[in-house]
């Protein structure tokens, strides 16, 4: 039986990341869905960057920007007394960047497919913008939220390159499942590597089947 510590760290990391991204991603996705600003393509591009960048590039920049002698890392030490790199919090910060598009893009398309009509109707019934968003837009986009959360969670579970760079591989703190698998392969423990890899493969497959089933049901209802 392999050591389950890394799996536990991965699950915690994915859970916290999904929760924080729900809070941060919602206003960003809403703004992207509604805005006619000229900077929209720029913001969209920045949001999508983690999809196309190799994780080692992100990991390398995060390692530099979160270092104790950098602006962000220095500020963090002053406020909390702890370093950002080599800590669970640091992993969460890194994962927020890494998984951002997986939260924002499904939410944005859910908000866009709502159209303006339901919100205008709500406004005509004297609902404030926040009220209208909360009571009309969110319930109508619940499938978008489900897809976004599941994808974010799954993508964070599979995180490797970024964590490898900023985590420091501390057991129980920053050693995640993907690094554990890498280590098993490198040390020629192919048996354990197979077990963990197959588990992650099945998990990812189940997640994707779930997402596509939710989307198919959505298709039947509206189509």
């Amino acid at each position: 039986m392999p050591d389950l510590g890394p799996l536990w760290v991965s699950l915690q990391l994915a859970f916290v990341t999904t929760l924080v991204l729900l809070l941060l991603g919602t206003p960003l996705a809403w703004w992207l869905a509604c805005t006619r600003s000229r900077v929209k393509p720029l913001v969209e591009a920045v949001t999508a960057l983690p999809l196309v960048l190799p994780p080692t590039v992100m990991g390398f920049y995060l390692l530099v920007f979160m270092a104790p002698n950098s602006w962000l890392g220095g500020l963090w030490i002053e406020v909390t007394g702890d370093t950002l790199t080599f800590s669970f919090t640091g992993l969460v910060v890194a994962s927020l960047f890494y998984s951002l598009p997986f939260m924002v893009q499904p939410l944005q398309s859910a908000f866009e497919s709502l159209g303006r009509a339901p919100l205008e109707a709500a406004a005509s019934l004297r609902a404030g913008p926040f009220d209208a968003f909360w009571t009309v837009a969110v319930p109508q986009s619940i499938r978008g939220y489900l897809t976004a959360s599941v994808l974010t969670f799954a993508h964070t579970i599979g995180e490797f390159g970024v964590v490898l760079m900023v985590g420091g591989n501390i057991p129980g703190k920053t050693r995640v499942i993907a690094i554990d698998i890498y280590e098993q392969v490198e040390t020629l423990n192919y048996g354990k590597a197979h077990l963990l890899s197959a588990g992650l493969l099945l998990f990812s497959f189940a997640v994707l089947v779930f997402v596509y089933m939710v989307n198919r049901r959505a298709g039947f209802r509206t189509g």
Binding site: L63, T83, L164, V166, G168, N169, I170, I179, V185, E186
Partner: protein, 260 residues
């Protein structure tokens, strides 16, 4: 339309490609493929260049972690020689019949270095005493499970009776290159890295360092081995023999390694 373009390209490029092939034919059709552990790659490039000068054979260096290269070799990767960062994997290849018997030897000995990127870091104390006193936040080492330098780092800390005490302050890179990055970026004040990373011809690293005495850990021996498909290949044998020669040894020393 597109066939016109293809014809045009064929007409224009065919003579050029004939010329190109004439050019490459002179160097021998099949270059030597050498799989090299990443930490030795810069030195291997230099030795390959010398070998090319003297023997005229082309050498292609393929870099990777020793574990990944081992896995590739077992799966039939077309390499003639393997320059590992450890002894375990060449031994295992030999044992499993993927390497030629009696070809294995230690081509380099690693030197462990305690390094601080910041030259001003605790200037009044020696780095050794900083390590023993524990007056730092993080010490970066390579993963002892994966990297020979990591294993030597663990053994060093155990010899100094620090391993238990520093458990929560030791951060690990997956290999010695990543460990170097953790120190160079300032995330870890101290790191146990390889001398070969700081001492390379034409490269000057900053900071302060303490060469860890060899008595504190088992020697970091790196083995080379001739691989199955090249057992009877004269160029491959010649490269291995070249690696044993004193002039190749001098180059290896210049890159921060010792010789057995």
């Amino acid at each position: 339309m597109s066939s016109v373009i293809v014809k045009f390209l064929l007409k224009r490029l065919a003579p050029a490609s004939v010329l190109l092939c004439l050019g490459c034919g002179g160097l021998g059709a099949d270059p030597l493929h050498v799989a090299v552990a990443t930490n030795f790659k810069p030195a291997a490039e230099r030795i390959a260049a010398l070998y090319r000068e003297q023997f005229g054979n082309d050498v292609q260096i393929v870099g990777g972690s020793s574990g990944a290269l081992y896995a590739q070799i077992v799966q039939g990767a077309p390499y003639d020689l393997f320059l590992s960062a450890d002894q375990a994997r060449p031994k295992q290849l030999e044992h499993e019949g993927f390497a030629c018997p009696n070809s294995r030897f230690a081509y380099a000995v690693g030197q462990l270095l305690l390094w601080s990127h910041n030259a001003e870091f605790d200037p009044d104390a020696t780095l050794e005493s900083v390590l023993i006193a524990g007056s730092f936040r993080f010490l970066a080492i390579a993963n002892p499970e994966l990297a020979p330098y990591g294993l030597a780092a663990e053994q060093t800390l155990q010899s100094l009776d620090l391993w238990e005490r520093l458990q929560d302050r030791v951060v690990m890179g997956q290999n010695i290159g990543q460990t170097y990055a953790l120190v160079a970026s300032g995330n870890a004040e101290l790191g146990l890295v390889a001398l070969s990373q700081l001492q390379q011809p034409g490269r000057r690293a900053s900071g302060r360092a303490w060469a860890v005495p060899q008595s504190l850990h088992k020697p970091i021996l790196q083995d080379a081995v001739l691989l199955k498909r090249a057992c009877e290949k004269p160029e491959a044998k010649a490269f291995l023999a070249f690696l044993r020669r004193p002039d190749a040894g001098a180059e290896i020393r210049a890159f921060g390694y010792g010789r057995n």
